[in-house]
Symmetry: C2
């Protein structure tokens, strides 16, 4: 079934993936990887899939696809306060996926392995007649019993979010060709924020023992706050004007509440939303206070006059 | 994007997958799973993907697809002597994948979770325009430093294999409609061996501290012995007549060496092939001695007269 010009499965693994392997991978020559958490730590596991045509465009650069795949998984580890250690990669390539594409993909993995101190632990390579499908399982470790959770917030806790919200959603709209009046510089910034999120690993670590709950913002800020509320049995009041927007985003939406609601419903921010006890202030953590958790249910977005802003779609759904 | 009749992503997770979750899954409501290996053990990790049209037929029963997905991964854990603990599941469903299909798939998971004492730790659900694509990451544990490896065999060690070889390959040929002259009963046996392999977990456990090397037979017996040879820097001599065949397989191939070579090159057996020091006999382990490891390189299949049997394709390859 070899296409003639391209390397076979074992040669691709030896050429592109073996150089990425950590000691846990046992040279990628055994059936499994072996890993020991450091004493007093437990293992943290998460998995996320990216499907061509669904989570990335078929003509996106392969190195950026690889880096986003690592980063969306590390963002899940960050939200629980974990230290990333490594990952398993299951790749379904098309028969016409070229060695050059895979080489660029592996180069993206290499860059972000260095950036985030993780290594390849193992994986699987298969072929598909459908779109390229990439599943990464990230493995980290956290102090036993100390992982940040969603379900542990209390009424009266303040709600905070790192970074800026909505950039990735605007970047996706630009990538799809939506006619947005943005300067070249703003376009470049927003596209980059869509293509290459930044997992907030250090912030997650700093929140251990301090945040009463945390989640990474992947479905959309309001939807993800909804997850904290549902699992904690609470409601939330979010001040629309407090939601942090980047300058390029602010120039595009001009602070209209309906558009802020749309940004707070777009996914792929990969910031961390967390709650703190009422008296606490995270002065050492770059984050913005956006609201408060309340008794009751539901996430209300409030305008500066105290009225609730209507929200059309609260987050990304696959079905 | 909801198709109207089918459940949404979150409802599917709540209905079909939440009942499968172990305590490590934190109710499937957090970003990650948490797991502690028992004291003195380390973590064992493996991942395998099954793609519709490549690893299963689109009209295979969904429960059997689920059970095979679990079993091929547990077979990798078995080959290293690990105790299975749980798994993460990344599913890419088609938009026309029905709730009934997913319900049957989840029922298959439930059955094999009970059979092998594992639980769902977490996962991801995405949509695809291509074939249903399923990636399972299995997590186990093994005594620190005791995992069975491929690279640790020595010249003169004997080679053994559990169970019977080639049944799954013949079952696949039957499934594809090849005209093989088999009785209804033999057909049923061979098809079942193809559809539902048995991971040799207890045997893997029993080999700890005894086998000098081990591998699971997934690419094909000769190819997998080749992996032991390459990583251990050895060659192997395999006696064709010693390769254990089931009665249904023996009735089909009538012990012709060329056909035995074909069976020893077919994949999907999911038996364990292992080596033992020259003087050792695994009297308590159901396995058959098939050959010996030698100085040198290459895997030679030998007929009863001492001549080498020609082998056409040594194992399954994806590309």
């Amino acid at each position: 079934m070899n296409g003639g010009q391209s390397l076979g499965e074992f040669e691709r693994i030896a050429t592109y993936f073996a150089p990425l392997a950590g000691p846990e991978a046992l040279g990628l020559s055994d059936d499994c990887a072996l890993m020991r958490p450091r004493p007093g730590f437990e293992i943290v596991l998460t998995t996320d899939t990216m499907v061509g045509g669904v989570h990335f465009f078929h003509d996106d650069p392969a190195d950026l696809i690889a880096r986003k795949l690592i980063r969306v998984n590390l963002s899940d580890l960050a939200a629980m306060g974990a230290i990333p250690r490594g990952y398993l990669l299951a790749s379904s390539w098309r028969r016409d996926t070229t060695d050059a594409w895979i080489a660029a993909f592996a180069e993206g993995l290499r860059q972000d392995q260095a950036a985030f101190s993780v290594a390849l632990f193992g994986g699987d390579t298969t072929s598909t007649d459908g779109p390229v499908t990439l599943t990464l399982t990230a493995i980290g470790e956290v102090e036993q019993g100390k992982a940040l959770r969603r379900s542990t917030a209390r009424p009266g806790d303040s709600l905070w979010v790192t970074g800026c919200i909505g950039d990735a959603g605007l970047g996706l709209r630009l990538r799809k060709g939506d006619a947005l009046h943005a300067s070249d510089r703003d376009r470049a910034y927003l596209l980059e924020r869509h293509r290459l999120p930044t997992p907030r690993i250090e912030i997650g670590r700093a929140l251990i023992g301090r945040a009463s709950a945390a989640i990474d913002v992947s479905d959309g800020l309001l939807a993800d706050i909804g997850h904290i509320c549902e699992t904690s049995g609470l409601g939330a009041r979010i001040e629309a004007a407090a939601i942090p927007l980047s300058d390029p985003a602010r120039r595009l939406v001009q602070a209209r509440e309906a558009e802020i609601a749309a940004l707070a419903s777009a996914g792929d921010d990969y910031e961390i939303c967390f709650s703190l006890p009422p008296s606490a202030t995270p002065s050492d953590i770059p984050a913005t206070r956006i609201g408060v958790l309340t008794d009751g249910t539901g996430v209300a977005l409030i305008d500066p006059t105290g009225r609730e802003v209507a929200v059309k779609h609260r987050g990304f759904r696959h079905f």
